[in-house]
């Protein structure tokens, strides 16, 4: 083995593996404690205590839940399409993890600093719908199928306006690279211009991750458990992990696109001594809190209302905003070079 090989390939390769390990570990740990945070926040908003018995303040509750799911029996329905039935949760979970490679958690701290980072995110998230359709179809159950259909049409609908919102951000930053999107110069008037898009994006990610008030795909009162009704044990756990990992991912994307990523909030220079990753995590948690807050406060939408909001309100609004933003940028000659 030549020293060149060690220096150029082996060491960076090992470093990358360690980086991936830390990233996956952090996301999974985040998922575990997001479920805990969700129950605690919901409890606080409903004047309950939430989990309290396992460990101090119930802090070990997620671990107990995970062990419980692992120890259950995996059931594959006899009438199901077995290969597809088993692949679907794996696909969903994998897609929830692979997006993280392009998320810059700090300056230079990103696994793959690719030029088309935002397109990559969009491509991966547009594939997420397959995990759900496959699960619904392979289960060979009408509830699962209805849930999958709902979920798929919902995700496709909101992806369109999310794409247009991203176009708005790209117009003012002039780059598809996520690190450059974070560091791009954003004067106050541009931030004000993007603020409505931020709100629409927040609502769209609720719909995109099938969370309340858009959680119709798993609306218990109508279609029992939705597309994952036939799943049990580990395959169910994969869906569960995938859903929560997606929530964290979407919050991270919101942080990168609108909240300035790892930079200190409101551009306060005095706070720059705090490591960027801490700001990133705090901002992501703030967006995640909105997810939980919305779940505790808002009743579920009716399906036609959901479609109306996506196609007749958000889509025209974001489209007009693209024209407006590009018009203003051209008129004031402040298009990024």
């Amino acid at each position: 083995m030549s020293p060149d090989f060690v220096n150029i390939y082996l060491m960076p390769g090992l470093f990358m593996l360690i980086h991936i390990g830390i990233l996956v570990g952090a996301v999974l740990g985040g998922v575990a404690y997001l479920t805990y945070a969700e129950r605690k926040v919901l409890g606080a908003m409903q004047r309950r205590q939430g989990p309290m018995t396992v460990g101090p303040f119930g802090l070990l509750q997620p671990i107990a839940d995970g062990l419980k799911l692992l120890s259950k029996e995996t059931i594959v329905p006899t009438q199901s399409n077995k290969p597809v039935f088993i692949i679907a949760p794996m696909l969903l979970f994998m897609l929830a993890l692979v997006s993280w490679v392009v998320i810059p958690v700090d300056a230079k701290l990103v696994l793959a600093d690719i030029n088309v980072g935002i397109l990559y995110l969009f491509a991966v998230s547009s594939m997420g719908v397959y995990g759900i359709i496959m699960a619904g179809w392979a289960s060979n159950s009408k509830y699962a199928f209805l849930g999958a259909m709902r979920s798929a049409s919902q995700m496709i609908s909101y992806e369109v306006s999310m794409g247009l919102i991203i176009v708005n951000v790209l117009l003012v930053t002039g780059s598809l690279n996520l690190s450059e999107i974070v560091t791009a110069d954003r004067p106050l008037w541009i931030q004000l211009l993007l603020f409505p898009m931020f709100i629409v994006f927040l609502i769209s990610i609720l719909a995109e991750t099938n969370r309340a008030p858009f959680d119709l795909p798993e609306g218990e009162s109508e279609i029992t458990g939705g597309f994952m009704v036939e799943y049990s044990s580990m395959s169910f756990a994969l869906f569960f992990l995938g859903e929560y990992a997606n929530m964290i991912l979407m919050s991270a994307i919101t942080t990168v696109l609108f909240l300035g990523g790892w930079l200190p909030p409101f551009g306060i220079e005095a706070l720059a001594f705090v490591p960027g990753i801490i700001w990133f995590v705090l901002k992501t948690c703030a967006v995640l809190f909105v997810f939980l807050w919305a779940r505790a406060t808002l009743p579920r939408y009716r399906y036609d209302q959901l479609m109306r909001l996506g196609w007749k309100v958000f889509l025209p609004f974001t489209l007009i905003w693209v024209v407006l933003v590009s018009g203003i940028l051209v008129y004031t000659e402040s298009l990024p070079k």
Binding site: Y9, F122, A123, S126, I133, M134, W137, I156, L176
Partner: protein, 205 residues
């Protein structure tokens, strides 16, 4: 050296999976499996594009074909009650046309293969013009300056197709009560609620 080796290995991996899944698209007995293999094929084609350094094309391939077109495909195959077995029985009658079509495409590929030796040097010379502009930016500049009319025309054709699809499928049903959201929002308290003082023992007349 090693990076070249990895790239070659990745190329063979992607192309083998691509070819196998393309084969499975036409041989799978279950139509949904066919579509799923088609998606796998698209995905591996995107991988090949990445290896070529065309990351923008790869991402667009995944977003447009995998994320949108194939989803609709899957919907149609799942929802429509098409009897694929009977379709398969009729497949023999198309075999002549299919062979001609495939033969022409094979011929074109072979021609391209032999012409490649002549074309390649000029292509390499052109590609060698190094600039610090990224691929994506380059495509945008070419598309929106040199070919802006063709690009807009393509957009208009898609618009016409979209309007056509809507006109063909839209039907106005008279028996459905439509909700007018604006009317619902503008309802005031006085319109729906009347407060009455109820005296004990008298009730409301």
């Amino acid at each position: 050296m090693v990076i070249k080796m990895i790239a070659t290995a990745a190329f063979y991996l992607f192309s083998i999976i691509l070819l196998l899944s393309a084969l499975r698209v036409i041989t799978a007995s279950n139509a949904v499996h066919s579509v799923l293999f088609l998606i796998l094929a698209f995905f591996n084609a995107a991988g090949l594009f990445v290896l070529l350094g065309a990351e923008f094309v790869a991402m667009i391939l995944v977003i447009v074909y995998v994320g949108a077109v194939a989803v609709l495909f899957l919907f149609v195959v799942m929802m429509l009650d098409v009897d694929f077995q009977s379709l398969r029985q009729n497949a023999k009658s198309y075999i002549g046309g299919g062979l001609v079509f495939g033969g022409v495409m094979l011929l074109e590929l072979i021609t391209l293969y032999f012409a490649w030796a002549d074309v390649q040097p000029t292509l390499v010379a052109e590609a060698a013009v190094v600039s610090d502009i990224t691929n994506t930016e380059q495509i945008g500049q070419v598309l929106y300056t040199d070919y802006v009319y063709a690009f807009q025309l393509a957009g208009l054709i898609l618009l016409v197709a979209m309007i056509g699809a809507i006109v063909l499928t839209h039907r106005r049903r008279a028996d459905v009560r439509r909700q007018k959201v604006a009317d619902q929002v503008y309802v005031k308290r006085e319109d729906v609620l009347e407060i009455k003082e109820v005296k004990t023992g008298q009730g409301i007349s």
